[in-house]
């Protein structure tokens, strides 16, 4: 590996009562690359990113961000370091305008500078195609637009590591295409961890794929390698993946 590890998880384990949600999961994210985390339902993907982002306390294991052990940091401090996280179930500020939603996301870094703040919000809205809806109440947006808005909030945070938990769930095919294009445009500057069920998205975007099954890493490699892996085929992809 020539690339630099931005984020690294070592031996992350979460045991709920007797249920092993994650056991000794190792994963590293290469700078500027897109890593996809895939696996059947209940494989422990959301638990894993929950532990990385600080929403879930691990039973054991360590998370490093740019070489620094951040295992003890609460979630908001990890976000302050340069992480962003979008929820599996759309999580926005429904009662606020689209503008205010993005402004809050950008506000952590830019609230002290009104002009730069405003410019950033408009730049992000423009990039994501929501600029004409800036004054709309976010809760009134269509489902697809709400998901796009949440991604826009992540962009406004200017993260070094962007974690997206099933971002294309429920999106139409054209919206998925737009999402793929957007992710391609930010990869390189941003390191992306993508939890994804849609194999078309994974095939189009992922530089690296890690497969979780029953809380353990089943396989890891390029999409082609994973595609050819018999164990993965058996556990998850089935005989004819809809890619």
């Amino acid at each position: 590996m020539a690339a630099v590890n931005v984020l690294e998880a070592k031996g992350l384990t979460k045991i709920y009562g007797g249920v092993e949600a994650n056991v000794d999961v190792d994963l590293h994210l290469d700078q500027g690359k897109i890593t996809a985390l895939i696996g059947p339902n209940g494989a422990g993907k959301s638990t894993f990113v929950g532990m990385i982002s600080g929403r879930i306390a691990p039973t054991r294991g360590t998370v490093y961000f740019k070489g620094r052990d951040i295992s003890q940091l609460p979630a908001h401090k990890r976000m302050q370091l340069g992480m962003a996280y979008t929820f599996q179930i759309t999580s926005i500020f429904p009662g606020l305008s689209v503008y205010d939603n993005v402004a809050l996301a950008a506000g952590l870094r830019l609230a002290h500078d009104k002009q730069a703040h405003d410019a950033k919000v408009h730049a992000v809205l423009d990039r994501i195609g929501l600029d004409d809806r800036a004054d709309q109440t976010a809760g009134d947006l269509s489902y697809g637009h709400q998901r796009v808005l949440e991604i826009a909030m992540g962009l406004a945070q200017e993260p070094e590591v962007f974690i997206l938990d099933e971002p294309t769930q429920g999106l139409s095919e054209t919206e998925v295409d737009a999402f793929i294009a957007l992710m391609k445009s930010i990869a390189g500057e941003t390191t992306i961890l993508l939890i994804e069920h849609n194999m078309r998205v994974v095939a189009a975007l992922a530089d690296h794929v890690t497969v979780l099954d029953q809380g353990r890493v089943l396989a890891s490699g390029t999409f082609a390698e994973i595609h050819a892996n018999d164990a993965v085929q058996a556990a998850y992809l089935g005989s004819t993946p809809h890619a």
Binding site: F93, P94, L104, G107, M153
Partner: protein
């Protein structure tokens, strides 16, 4: 630019109106408005926590009482003049809010309501317990001689109105500014979606504690103003009903709006005032009106106006 000027014009217009009212209203209503403005400060403090941050406290009477007793006991026991006594009242309310907030904010929702209610009951019982100084239920009077500021006798109707007006204006404009600042926007974010706010990198626990302290200080300012202007300090102001009142005022006027608390206090004051002129069962009238308002204008008077087209209302 127009959009940002309108709220300021509205706020200044309301203050101008309150100023004019002094000259046009009969004496009884001037007295009523002195009281309304003081109680509106209390309502604004409550609104910051409930309306903006989304934390429903059932124990705010303890902060009102901390200000009231902080002022009354300081003047009575130490003989401090108005300004240092007022400052110690604010300090008392702020420290109480810091301590209670530190403990109570570990809970949320219904548990937060219960914990704040319990703390307020504790404060109420402490007031009764130290009856030697507080004179318990009966309360005590802040003497006219102690209610003088820079040679002005604050017990006259005129001085009382203008003191209330100045205190209200400062709190009103400060609060309007506060909720427009990034800090205020972050509190609204917590109300709207706490987990999202946390995952945007905001220190939610710290923001809530700061909101609690500011809310407590505003409530304390109201309590101290009440003792200063009306000269009475009593345990009934620490009772449960004084924790419920600000909730009602804010709900009626419009939670999370800058002018809602004032509107709510005026509405409630005159609702009781007028209905008690008709019947002894005035609380029944008040109750029915409250039920109707909750049914047909659940966002309060200002909240409903904002929803029905006056969207710029701050």
């Amino acid at each position: 630019m127009m959009a940002s000027r309108k709220p300021l014009a509205l706020h200044l217009g309301i203050l101008a109106l309150l100023l004019v009212l002094f000259f046009v209203l009969p004496a009884y209503h001037v007295g009523a408005f002195s009281r309304i403005m003081v109680l509106a400060i209390y309502a604004m403090g409550y609104n910051l926590l409930f309306g903006y941050t989304g934390l429903l406290s059932l124990g705010h009477a303890m902060f009102f009482a901390a200000g009231m007793y902080g002022f009354g006991l300081t003047t009575n026991l130490t003989g401090f003049s108005v300004i240092p006594a007022f400052a110690s009242a604010m300090l008392a309310a702020g420290l109480l809010a810091l301590g209670v907030g530190y403990l109570a904010l570990r809970t949320a929702g219904v548990a937060f309501m219960i914990v704040t209610l319990m703390f307020a009951q504790t404060v109420y019982l402490i007031i009764l317990y130290f009856g030697t100084y507080t004179r318990g239920d009966e309360g005590f009077v802040v003497q006219q001689a102690q209610r003088q500021l820079a040679g002005i006798d604050l017990t006259t109707e005129t001085a009382r109105y203008f003191t209330a007006f100045i205190l209200f204006s400062v709190c009103f404009l400060a609060m309007a500014k506060l909720v427009q600042m990034p800090f205020g926007k972050r509190l609204i974010a917590i109300r709207e979606n706490e987990e999202r706010a946390r995952m945007l990198g905001y220190d939610v626990a710290n923001l809530k504690l700061r909101a609690m302290v500011i809310s407590g200080v505003f409530s304390g300012v109201a309590g101290a103003s009440y003792a200063l202007l009306f000269g009475y300090v009593g345990a009934s102001f620490a009772g449960v009903q004084y924790s419920i009142f600000p909730l009602l005022w804010v709900l009626l006027g419009g939670a999370g709006t800058t002018i809602g608390p004032l509107i709510g206090v005026i509405f409630m004051f005159y609702l009781i005032d007028i209905s008690s002129g008709w019947t002894n069962a005035y609380m029944l009238v008040a109750g029915i009106v409250l039920v109707l308002l909750t049914l047909f204008a659940p966002q309060g008077i200002v909240g409903t106006l904002r929803k029905r087209g006056v969207a710029w209302l701050p």
